[in-house]
């Protein structure tokens, strides 16, 4: 109690205009920024994987399994920021037991469980099953058991069984695409359906979330692929990289167009909230929205990738451009999430004033925990790479 008062009292001085007394405490902080960022990466990485299986884009095959494992690693971490931000994390299971059917948020548990159980884990299992069985045969000791358990003690690698595996993986991917759309589009809906908040309330929100998710997912897998491959002393497949960059570029164009549409639409309709939103965008959100999200996270990487496509640059320069662009895209998408979540709470619902957000360093909702949550998926991914090597040469002959 005293701690909260100590945290909030200095903020009183930084308020401009008038905000309701209960609005001084900003409720969805850094953790809720991280949550859509993580689920976006999951959905995006999965969409990239589906390019191989469903749309038969052969070039990105080397990243297929990396994408699946990346999606899994980030999906495992995705609910943690939500859990950490709850006032009563120990009651979180009530969402499963007594969901309120009219609440968008109540569906979270079901969407999440569906995506984890029915899509990702199943697809990974079917895709890896043959390899795991063969690995287990050659290995000994605890590694053998680890793989035996992950194969769920199946041992049938007859042609018929493998054919079924392939078919199953394909069907799951087909189901997986709308599921990935659902997973992240639904997160967008949680924000987009809040009619009290004009910054959030937009029918475009789910679809903007979705395309920014695809952008961030492709960029992340591109980064992981570009970092891991030289570490394993292998050569980066340029055809794969070029193709990924093309898809990244296309997704960014769609994402940018949607966001531009949303922006133009707001200005053109110029509703009651336009004054306070203009103040917000030209003031407190200027650096994170205009500079970081739009310029650094969108226009510069778009221009850079376009330049690679137009001019015949040497591979070395292409790789550098892709790498730097993908990093900028990550920064940009993170700040997109920030601008939605935090931006939507910086203005008062009285439309008469602006408030501030200051994160703490320690504490469950502090900076340290947030950094930990951003790091954790990579640790899980490292373990997954060890248990289920996604590399082409690791495939059992």
């Amino acid at each position: 109690m005293e701690e909260i008062v100590k945290h909030l009292t200095p903020l009183l001085k930084e308020i401009t205009g008038y905000i309701y007394p209960n609005e001084i405490e900003l409720h969805w902080g850094l953790l809720i920024v991280i949550y859509p960022y993580l689920t976006g990466l999951v959905a995006g990485a999965f969409i990239l994987a589906s390019l191989v299986k469903v749309f038969n884009v052969k070039e990105v095959q080397p990243t297929y399994r990396i994408s699946l494992l990346t999606a899994l690693a980030f999906l495992i971490v995705a609910p943690l920021p939500l859990l950490a931000h709850l006032g009563h994390p120990e009651r979180s299971f009530e969402i499963f037991l007594t969901p309120n059917t009219s609440s968008a948020m109540a569906m979270f548990g079901f969407v999440y469980a569906w995506y984890l159980m029915a899509v990702l884990l199943l697809e990974i299992w079917f895709d890896y099953r043959r390899d795991i069985i063969l690995w287990a045969e050659k290995e000994s000791g605890w590694k053998k058991w680890m793989h035996k358990i992950t194969s769920l003690f199946s041992s049938d690698i007859s042609e018929r069984a493998l054919r079924f595996d392939r078919k199953a993986a394909k069907i799951i991917t087909i189901i997986g695409i709308p599921s990935a759309f659902l997973l992240h589009g639904y997160v967008g809906f949680i924000f987009g359906s809040v009619k009290a908040n004009p910054w959030w309330s937009s029918v475009l929100m789910p679809i903007v979330f979705l395309f920014s998710a695809i952008v961030s997912g492709i960029a992340l897998v591109l980064l992981i692929y570009m970092i891991v491959t030289p570490l394993r002393k292998k050569n980066i497949d340029m055809a794969c990289l070029n193709k990924m960059a093309t898809f990244l570029f296309l997704a960014m164009i769609v994402d940018f167009s949607l966001e531009a549409l949303d922006f133009v639409h707001r200005i053109y309709e110029s509703e009651e909230s336009i004054k306070i939103l203009t103040q917000l965008v030209s003031g407190k959100l200027f650096s994170s929205l205009i500079v970081v999200q739009l310029l650094i996270g969108m226009l510069i990487p778009l221009g850079a990738i376009a330049a690679v496509k137009i001019f015949k640059w040497p591979d070395e320069l292409k790789r550098l451009t892709y790498f730097l662009s993908a990093i900028l895209v990550q920064v940009g998408i993170f700040s997109t999430r920030w601008n939605v979540v935090i931006g939507g709470q910086l203005f008062s619902k009285s439309f008469s004033g602006l408030t501030v957000y200051k994160t703490t360093f320690l504490g469950l909702e502090g900076l340290l925990v947030s950094l930990g949550l951003l790091l954790l998926p990579f640790i899980i991914l490292y373990i997954l790479f060890y248990v289920l090597p996604p590399w082409e040469e690791a495939r059992a002959a």
């Binding site: 909260i4 008038y18 209960n22 006032g87 009563h88 009651r91 009530e94 309120n100 609440s103 619902k349």
Partner: protein, 266 residues
């Protein structure tokens, strides 16, 4: 012979399947048990309300606020905080008073220091103020409440008498309801870590008492009562005044009605 054996095998297999499906069904059903147990406990909790002979179905509560009568003394805010165990610090409140000062140049100054609990100080800008008034705010007990719609576990709900309540033993503290409320009426209680808001002093109204803020108001700016019964003072208030509600375009259908509401008030 072989046919018979096949038939037997099939029967065995299908009975196995039936068993499996049965088992599956039973294990999924068992997931609901804690919910039922809790619900049973809950009904004991609410018995104190019904015990006094109060029947929610016989009432429909609302509040009228006459802005021209409010003097901004802040006694309602203090009475509410003391009655409902709300921290006496400025950041959490179930009701508050806003002061509006409209200047000569059309500029509107709004403030609510300490939620208006310690009343308001005169300031040097007073010279060029053309109009000034106080607006008490409170949960609007919407007929169509967005907070109830979004609560993921159903911890916030609308009773038959139209009051929106929160079960603080059930609230998980996700704060979606706080985001969904267009009026800023909700907050997270810093001690219980659950959502809080005005309940029309539900513990008082079931006993036939008025809410604490209504009782504390020295000018009778707040009128509490039945919306539908003809003999109610609130119905008279609604009939005698030009009435408005806050943010009507959001279709939340507030049950807190304002008389003499200025267009600057949001």
């Amino acid at each position: 012979m072989t046919d018979n054996r096949k038939l037997g095998e099939n029967q065995e297999r299908s009975s196995g399947r039936r068993k499996f499906i049965g088992g599956l069904f039973a294990s999924f059903t068992s997931l609901l048990v804690p919910g039922f147990l809790r619900a049973d406990n809950k009904s004991k909790d609410v018995k104190w309300i019904i015990a006094g002979g109060y029947s929610p179905n016989d009432h429909h509560w609302g509040m009228g606020i006459d802005i021209s009568k409010c003097i901004g003394c802040g006694r309602c805010v203090e009475a509410c905080k003391r009655e409902n165990n709300v921290p006496l610090v400025p950041f959490f409140t179930r009701t508050w008073i806003e002061r509006y000062r409209i200047l000569e140049n059309g500029e509107v100054l709004i403030d609510s220091p300490d939620a208006g609990m310690k009343s308001f100080k005169e300031e040097s800008t007073e010279d060029n103020v053309v109009r000034s008034f106080f607006v008490p705010k409170i949960c609007n007990q919407c007929e169509n409440p967005p907070c109830v719609q979004v609560c993921p576990v159903g911890a916030t709900f609308q009773t038959a008498d139209g009051v929106v309540l929160i079960d603080s033993e059930y609230c998980i503290g996700c704060r979606y309801c706080i985001q969904a409320c267009p009026y800023g009426a909700r907050f997270l209680h810093p001690e219980t870590r659950t959502a809080e808001k005005c309940t029309f002093c539900y513990h008082r109204i079931v006993k036939g008492l008025a809410p604490a803020c209504v009782e504390a108001c020295p000018t009778q700016a707040r009128i509490f009562g039945e919306i539908k019964k003809k003999a109610s003072p609130l119905v008279r208030f609604l009939r005698m005044n030009k009435i408005n509600v806050l943010k009507p375009y959001l279709n939340t259908e507030p049950k807190v009605f304002y008389a003499n509401l200025d267009m600057e008030v949001k």
